[in-house]
Amino acid sequence: MADFETPALTEFQLVPHIKKGSMAHSQTFAAKPEFQEDLGFPGELEEGWEDVAVKKLGELTTKYRGLKVFLDSCVKCGACTDKCHYYLGTADPLNMPVARQDLLRSVYRRYYTFAGKYFPWLVGARKMTKGMLDKWYCYFHQCSQCRRCSVFCPYGIDTAEISMAAREIMDAVSVGQKYCNEIIGKVYKIGNNLGLPEKALVNTLEGLEEDVKDETGIDVRFPVDQAGADVLLITPSADFFAEPHIDGLIGYGKVFHQAGINWTLSSHASEAGNFGMFIGSYENMRRVALRIREAALDLKVKRIVVGECGHAWRVAYSFWNTLIGVGHGGNDPYAKALQQQLDPNYPAPQHIIELTYDLIQKGALTLDKSANDDQRVTFHDSCNVARASRMGTMPGGQFVLPREVIKSSVNHYFDMAPETIHENTFCCGGGGGILTDDLIEIRVKGAQPRMQALMDVVQEYDVNYLAAICAICKSQFSKVLPYYKFPMDMIGSVHGLVSNAIQLGAKQ
């Protein structure tokens, strides 16, 4: 990995002048042929791949209306050009959302539009070549699919959709990313992204029960594969042992315990994350999610609750009903087979924040805020929770509920600047398949706008705890905070705060 400079934090967020090619060297490791084949993709770039790629592009525009409309509608107004955290952190013009889209749009125009076919020089249409493929591989792996650009586009053009399509086309000609595709392979073989087998999972959870018992004197259970439990918890596998994720898992366990909810994890579906979305593959996204349907049917649970995970919550909230029938309102036999089993009094799926929030509202939990008095907390809205999902019944509940849960658990809470939170939130810099060491430079640089906003609240309010509800955000911040001279343990789970504050034992 080449050396690089961590962007400077300044008095306020600057929009840099373009520096052509400043991230052109970024290369994420390629997936080996055998891993590509596990996912149903070819292993090697074969003669005539250009035609395959162009055909795949055409096919996708007939399967996804969004993609087709987005490719046709851009007027190059420039509204998105200063909105991407990767552009702000790198100044590479190909990290401007419109320019990133144009890598694909120029090929679409060349093969699928009148103007592009006959007047390519006029509209910037380009042929599918190896050079173009390399550019795609470079810059579509500098997009975290955070959707910030889509908030600001007058036509709602979402670069995430374009980068998913690009990655799917690349996979169709064998060019896949090691990080995403090997992880998906692990889910198929073992059941989670980390490749944590059932036995190790059970041992880890038993250890966790002992730790909590030692610390609190209370038997908080972390059950696995308990058929007949009311609630199935689907959480990112990082929650099982990564720091600070595990504090969140302990928090969920304490909440379930205190509310008297009969819950279970599943060793078959021990992963909330769904990297099928990152690579834009509906088939793989569905196949990853199917394990959850199977586990829910096997264990005969009535509710499905999802742990703190951003892109996972997007897939769960927005896509599970479509992909695997986890939801309500399905009329077809496939959906009904599961939905008749699910309790109609609860949303399906439900976010752990929604569950904890409801319990707090009902007075079912006793929280001692003073237990967190050494914490001065701010909250990072995770991109996919903020812009691709909801919590509660009100639009924008995804901003309100986590903050209410935090404020019920701490005395000192401070928001970051309004242009950097809620729907305007900046991605942590590691989402959408970027959270790998071979992409550390773009991760660090892409974190700059969030770090800038964080510095402001650190200076103004002495904030020392950055709370998040996403496994990727937590891992990413642990890694990049030190680059910006913040302590790495500043990042924590929202349910880590709940865990500190919750009073276990009999209610008075």
Partner: protein, 245 residues
């Protein structure tokens, strides 16, 4: 008479291409499946809410306003003065002229200046802002030039006495096209340039980025209701995956 014939054919062709092209495009958009729920959230949870969201996007360019006040100012100014100008032009195609078109007339006349100003502002950004300069291709410049030329030729005919045309004869020509009772076109150079440019714009509309006009109505990030947990969305091709198991 030959010039009139050329323009008559040109306008029939331009209208056919514009209407046919747009119908084709809209059919393609409408028939392309939307397999997943992808509204940019927070999004409305009801159909009425979505209609209101779309209404704000189309009338006040809500997202653009959030994004960049300069682009919003120039873009909004251009689009809405153009709307006034277009509505004002209905007087050349209707007889008798509808009363509300008469009401718009005084504003519509001056709106042409707003159009030109908005367009020049947008064009200036393509030179002055390095990010926008980078993303502009030749066609982006030409499109602005075309629109500016239409606005300026129109303004010259309205405000410079030497370039005025015989508006009564022009109206007779246009009504003649509509009712297949062909009349001669006044052979004034400014009018012919203006009409030629307008016909060009009509013809490239369905094959250019002007497709953003129908496109915005079909954008799933804006027109979807946020209710995935309550209602199951399943497209035909995705349903096939289920039945093949």
């Amino acid at each position: 008479m030959s010039v009139s014939l050329v323009y008559a054919v040109l306008f029939y062709a331009a209208t056919a291409i514009l209407v046919g092209g747009l119908i084709y495009r809209i059919r393609v958009y409408a028939r392309t499946p939307v397999p997943l729920k992808i509204p940019t959230t927070p999004a409305p949870t009801t159909r009425t809410g979505v209609l209101f969201r779309m209404f704000r996007e189309i009338t006040v360019f809500e997202s653009l306003f959030k994004s960049n006040k300069w682009i919003w100012l120039f873009g909004w100014l251009f689009h809405f003065t153009m709307l006034l100008v277009l509505l004002r032009h209905l007087r050349y195609f209707t007889h008798p002229v509808w009363f509300w078109v008469d009401l718009i007339q005084p504003f519509g006349i001056y709106a042409g200046f707003g159009m030109a100003a908005g367009l020049l502002g947008l064009w200036a950004r393509r030179f002055l802002v390095d990010r926008v300069r980078y993303i502009s291709s030749l066609s982006d410049h030409l499109m602005l030039i075309l629109l500016i030329a239409i606005a300026i030729t129109g303004l010259l005919m309205s405000f410079v006495p030497e370039w005025r045309t015989d508006i009564v004869a022009l109206k007779a020509f246009m009504l003649g096209l509509l009712y297949f009772d062909w009349q001669p076109l006044p052979e004034d150079p400014m009018l012919m340039i203006h009409l030629g440019l307008v016909a060009t714009l009509m013809m490239i509309f369905p094959i250019s980025k002007l497709l953003h006009a129908p496109g915005v109505f079909f954008s799933p990030t804006r027109n979807q209701i946020d209710n995935p947990r309550e209602k199951r969305l399943l497209s035909a091709w995705a349903a096939k995956l289920e039945s093949s198991e």
